[in-house]
């Protein structure tokens, strides 16, 4: 992907409804220039996965997604030999043909390999990489640093075009140095009230400025409380949409109390927030 400067990233992302900070726009620009993956870390609900999706939309790229989980292995992340096809080929064949069953025809592509092969530029989203065990992280390193996959029976598969790689992490555990060294590190925290208000206004142009300001203020207060799960940006937007649907023009205590479950999904969080936000109710 060729970009002139970070303003191009800023404009393209804004067009598809994702308002990037200077850090985000600069990081994406650098990732394409230096051909390095981006490791996005931060609390859940700050728009990490959304960044990859927005980039795919903004630059019309195909997105390949690898969802990480404990126990993910090579055959799910990189490639697998198609045993069924190989067995069928072996039946009725002579000995000389046996070696040919380890060729590209018998390969099942998994996300990492798929992102390197095939025409067109792609976005590779490696989601929640902190769910992987440390040992499994190593599976990613060759793709991240060299944009290639080595298959013992076949040799090294090079990328036909280098994908833009985005890794996300909720910081559940410390990632290995080896992985961090290969990536640009972008820390995404909850947005400032000012930026969140801009996000709300961009998503819902019809919203009243004052309501938007009040709304992000309440959300910011909720995030400053010690809750099990702070409201995400997506939940702020859900809340704003609901308030619009209910034709609410100003946020009074009753409205906040009755719509709080849109922001908080946990009973004890809701009780706690009500107590702190609306001591009189």
């Amino acid at each position: 992907m060729f970009l002139q400067n970070q303003d191009e990233v800023h404009q393209a992302l804004s067009r598809v409804g994702y308002l990037p900070s200077t850090e985000i726009a600069t990081t994406v620009f650098l990732a394409t220039k230096l051909e390095k993956p981006i490791l996005v870390e931060g609390p859940a609900g700050t728009g990490k996965t959304e960044l990859a999706k927005a980039l795919a939309r903004a630059f019309a790229l195909e997105m390949v997604r690898l969802q990480c989980y404990e126990g993910l292995d090579e055959s799910r992340a990189l490639y697998e030999w198609d045993y069924r096809k190989q067995l069928l080929a072996l039946q009725g064949s002579t000995d000389q043909e046996v070696s040919s069953i380890f060729s590209a025809d018998y390969l099942l592509e998994r996300p990492l390999l798929a992102s390197l092969r095939g025409g067109g530029e792609k976005i590779l989203l490696i989601d929640e990489v902190d769910r992987l065990e440390v040992e499994t992280e190593a599976l990613l390193l060759e793709v991240l640093a060299e944009f290639q996959v080595t298959i013992p029976e076949l040799g090294t598969v090079q990328a036909t075009s280098k994908p833009v790689v985005i890794l996300t992490s909720n910081g559940m555990r410390e990632l290995s140095e080896a992985l961090k060294r290969r990536a640009l590190y972008l820390y995404l925290d909850y947005p400032s009230q000012e930026r969140e208000r801009a996000i709300v206004s961009a998503a819902l142009p019809e919203i009243d400025d004052e309501l938007a300001a009040r709304l992000v203020e309440v959300v910011a207060r909720l995030r400053s409380m010690d809750l099990k799960k702070s409201p995400s940006i997506a939940e702020t937007l859900d809340w704003a949409r609901s308030l619009l649907a209910l034709s609410v023009s100003s946020l009074d205590d009753d409205v906040v109390a009755s719509t709080l479950p849109i922001l908080l999904k946990n009973r004890s969080d809701i009780e706690r927030a009500l107590k702190e936000l609306l001591p009189r109710v």
Binding site: N5, T26, T27, K33, L34, E174, R181, L184, Y187
Partner: protein, 148 residues
């Protein structure tokens, strides 16, 4: 010239307890060669994403960046010189990071003679500021509250 400034900045980061690998420095140098150097926010973002690899170091990075690449005068005339270090210490103890950045910036301008044109010389002549920064990092990681 640019490279020398970058290397001095990396040395300062390491002195403040942030580990920076050589490959990160190479990335940072490459990043500086493709972005607009006159845009302070971009330079800051570019150095942050290439040099820093964990959120706790990010705090010290921002503080140090402001000292190193001084943003220009934003002096608070209500504070006498003698009171500046006391104010810095208070800000540190109360974890008022915004206030701290502002005060440290002032300290550099007053004692280091730093200016946007001569960011590096300003820093090396302000040893007192280094002490404060080291303290601020230690208190970030929860070691230094007794050091005061």
């Amino acid at each position: 010239m640019l490279l020398a400034t970058l290397l001095d900045f990396v040395t300062a980061l390491r002195a403040a307890g942030v580990s920076v690998s050589p490959s990160s420095v190479i990335d940072a140098a490459a990043a500086l060669s493709v972005i607009d150097l006159l845009d302070r926010a971009s330079v800051r973002a570019a150095l942050a994403v290439t040099l820093i690899k964990d959120p706790s170091s990010l705090l010290i990075f921002y503080r140090l960046f402001d000292v190193f690449f001084a943003a220009g005068a934003h002096e608070d005339p209500s504070i006498e010189e003698d009171e500046l270090f006391d104010a810095i210490r208070d800000a540190l103890l109360n974890e008022r990071w915004d206030r701290l950045s502002e005060l440290v910036g002032q300290a550099v301008e007053r004692f280091g003679g730093g200016s946007p044109e001569r960011p590096v010389s300003g820093v090396t002549r302000a040893p007192g500021v280094w002490g404060v920064l080291r303290l601020s990092h230690e208190s970030c990681v929860g070691l230094g509250s007794t050091a005061l």
